[in-house]
Symmetry: C2
Subunit: 352 residues, 2 copies
Amino acid sequence: MTDRFVLILAGGRGERFWPWSRPGRPKQLLPLAAGGRSLLAATVARAERVVARERIVVLTARDLVEAVRHDCPGVRVLGEPVGRNTAAAIGAAAALFRHAAPQASFAVLPADHAIDDEAAFAADLARAFEVAERELVLLTFGIRPTHPETNFGYIHRGARVAERLHRVARFAEKPARADAEAWIASGEYAWNAGIFVWRAGTFLDALRASRPALAEPLAGLRWSGGDAGFERALDGVFPGLESISVDYAVMERAPNVLVLEAAFDWDDLGSWGAWARRQPRDADGNVLFGDAVALECAGCVVVGDGGTAAAMGLRDTVVVHVEGSTLCCPLDASDRVRRVTEAVRARGGGRA
Amino acid sequence: MTDRFVLILAGGRGERFWPWSRPGRPKQLLPLAAGGRSLLAATVARAERVVARERIVVLTARDLVEAVRHDCPGVRVLGEPVGRNTAAAIGAAAALFRHAAPQASFAVLPADHAIDDEAAFAADLARAFEVAERELVLLTFGIRPTHPETNFGYIHRGARVAERLHRVARFAEKPARADAEAWIASGEYAWNAGIFVWRAGTFLDALRASRPALAEPLAGLRWSGGDAGFERALDGVFPGLESISVDYAVMERAPNVLVLEAAFDWDDLGSWGAWARRQPRDADGNVLFGDAVALECAGCVVVGDGGTAAAMGLRDTVVVHVEGSTLCCPLDASDRVRRVTEAVRARGGGRA
């Protein structure tokens, strides 16, 4: 138990909630979690059910460190000098934890997902630690699909190991709609939530086996000189590393991968629409957040942060006011917000 | 010619363009006129085709004087201590002009209407001055109706006096839809645009005849002590005056009223939709103003002032971003914006 850690990956720029989200205030720092907490703060709270706060490390972009520390006081926050995707980030943390405790195990949690059933999450995570420590496997969580989502990766289950625990037949990338429907019908597929548990040594061994050029410089990282010293060590190593996801670099290649079907709810909150589905609504089915007014509206999402967002006579529409920007679009177009931010940037507005 | 003046009434709070318009930046100060000028500046420019700039007086609310002076440099701007509707405002100006020139005549122009054909306007206004000075009548302009508008007052023409010049049978208030349709079909009705021309003495006589308690204190106003002196005189008189429109107080009662059918275009810009009809559009029929982006939109009005307004996937919708507030509603609901400002005020947001 004392050798367990949690790594929260909070380096994403998460712009799907533009204009609420910005480069300096990405999705994980927005108050999108239940109770108006940030997704990151909610992730930390879930992690604290399993490990002590001082054993939680948040890895983020260097320029977000201050904002993250402000959001999560008392948690160790480390900044990457450049983004090098998840394999490098997890590898660096694995070296850090192994140096702190040779038998260390750790969970990897994305900072910007929504999970409301904290008790089920804590129970599943504890079970995952036990399995990973005992079996020396790479354990990933699978989410039971509720609809044929084409924006997620999937995990095809292999042989059953125990209740809700299976070998992994294969990882599958974002599917076409027809494939997603067939996979769900088969009952053999789960969503890949990017939540992992393993011993630090197990992960570093797997990384070395599949990506030796990535593993070698990371394995040499040492915890010395405090947070600033570790960040300086990252400065020397990160720029030269391959930028690759842990799925590609490790999970799809390693032989010792198990998938635990989650007993908890989960959503990646990939759009305004996804967020709205988890929010309380008024009598007309509107989600109002902050300084928001909806008249003669139904099924709308109205958010005012730093100003008033007022909607009248609309259906199923997103209206967002933040300082310096407004977005208005149909809720079912909200997964294409990136098109808007690209257009705003192309105009040189500089506010996206 | 040398005794002609123009009075521009710019005291309105014009909140139909909320959130672009605010109490401190009402409709007449917004860049709603052709070429991005304010409606007030465009009104001054039209007036200058008929009288010299120093013979134009803008009467506004005291707290708007500074903003109005900034918008119209070189024009005499006077502030009312309290709003007392149009009869008192015009009466005060009539006294001012008569004191400057006993035979003075003046035109009354609302500051927040749109007229693009400046040459036709100037020609009509010059003709109106000649008629009013010669005949000692109260002359009002009638606008040929283009649709059965129920938000305007109408003028029922009487006997023909000359080309486009008639006696007035009666002034009619905002009609029901069926009445408006019948009136337009009759060809005998014009819209009441609130544009008047008369000698100062003729107006003061008519006011004294119909509203002596209103006329008496106004007739005593003198031009002494400059603008500040005149404003102090208004301070002593205005608070005690009846608040009544010139239509009720004078036009509906006076026997010597003529209506000149305007040869120019006119719109009172009573809503976002009315404004949009006069604006240039992009290939998809969208009106974009300021820092505005429209993707996959058609027939929309997108305005960004002090920030970016971004719309995606909308039809016939208004999206307005200003500092501190956003409005989003269907274009055909934009004449009910007041409902939104009332709701915002009721919440105590204080930004409406």
